[in-house]
Point group: none
Chain length 135, copies 4
DNA sequence: GTGGTCTAGACCACT
DNA sequence: GTGGTCTAGACCACG
């Protein structure tokens, strides 16, 4: 896990994204214990409040589960949103990608190829780590 | 052109994206005159400084051309970045889409389909308005 | 008896409330022996210190009675607080309920109905288990 | 608006509750501008971060709407939860009140009376301030 | 002017 | 040990 302190995107957002990514790839799975606030803070050389904010926010989103005095865990991932809503969320990003591509004159074929590469990479990482797909 | 004042993405970014989008789809083309700063500001009900920032930044990116005393125009779109850099920029967004998709259990097929739809829609808009492709 | 480790309300408070609830409904009555600290701790899978805190606090409130070497019992329930104070304590919760209700557009009639249902349910549970009302 | 710094309930929670209360009673209504973070912080003699936390959290709950550079407003209150869910939320508090009442030997009649008093007080405050009921 | 991020450090509650 | 609240103050981005 790496952060860029000089990036335009705030540190706490970078960390949130990486934790989400690790959950998406199965590197972190339901019930796993995350490092303590103090641990992660010193490891990333950021303030404890920054990590606290990360955990609190992910907890509010239902992605993590905080147990006082015990630690922070990956929450049970109850699929709260419907299939069509999920598809819509992904479509939003794809639309943005398409706008960029047309603007930058990148062909649809190149995009398909690139997308497949990324998708397979993430899926295979997930499979390797033994995560279950929720059908 | 619409903006959401209470979005997480800043107003000036929203406007920049929409202008880029209009250029990508050909709605705005090389040489076209954009509305004046105070016109656009009053139309969108935002601060003039915000519009000024938009035009300045797009000018710095080489997308617009500001002519003092005359107005702001769409610049001649000389492809400033290389093919590999363009591909990389698109790949970054696609990667994000892939993470989301795996996390939300959306299949690669659904993504390909969705991506094609969006790509064609934007391309066709561009063609209809008569924009030239720069191959 | 159930606890939620990831709730906002601390575990010891959850247990206290449930013991009070069981006494209110007559499930636990004056003189009854409660499980030992280590028993209850292992049963609920919580720390022994947590149970110790629960028993100590309820003992301090005069609700339980700890006899060293023997065990923890439900104390004789001498009504320690005055009628007006009791009414005030209940009024505080009702006020909160009223705020919620107005905010959520729930009618007074619905509340009266609901309140009566709950009140009767708890009272009848108490009667069934043979608890004496202290008038 | 008053806070008790020595209370067990955290300051930010006290403020959140009071803002919710003011919205419930119609003292604050859709579109109203709240005091700036700095203003409220100095008025209540607490840290700016504390107020920031309040506004952020209420924003996340959809109760407030934050516009960067402009200010914080009461959001349009789209009723996001169904009637049955709303009733359930109120029932939960009423149940707690009933437990307390039975435990403290407060009669159902006293509760009905008290509840009506509180409900009318809040409703009338809301009406006086001219808030619309959302039917 | 507005909100937002981040830090350093104190102090508290829970397990 | 764990997370959580709060402060004081710096610095930034947005309008």
């Amino acid at each position: 896990m790496r952060i860029e302190p000089s990036s335009a995107v705030p540190i706490y957002r970078q960390i949130i994204d990486q934790i989400k990514y690790q959950i998406a790839t199965g590197l972190l799975r339901e019930g796993n214990l995350l490092p303590s606030v103090r641990q992660l803070a010193s490891q990333l050389a950021v303030n404890q409040n920054t990590i606290l904010k990360v955990y609190s926010q992910l907890c509010a989103e239902g992605i993590l589960r905080i147990e006082r005095g015990s630690g922070t865990y990956v929450a049970a991932n109850r699929q709260t949103i419907s299939a069509s809503e999920r598809k819509k969320a992904v479509a939003k990003i794809l639309r943005e990608a398409a706008v960029q591509a047309v603007h930058l004159n990148v062909s649809l074929e190149q995009m398909h190829e690139q997308l497949e590469k990324e998708y397979d990479r993430i899926s295979s990482q997930r499979d390797k780590t033994g995560a279950k797909h929720d059908e």
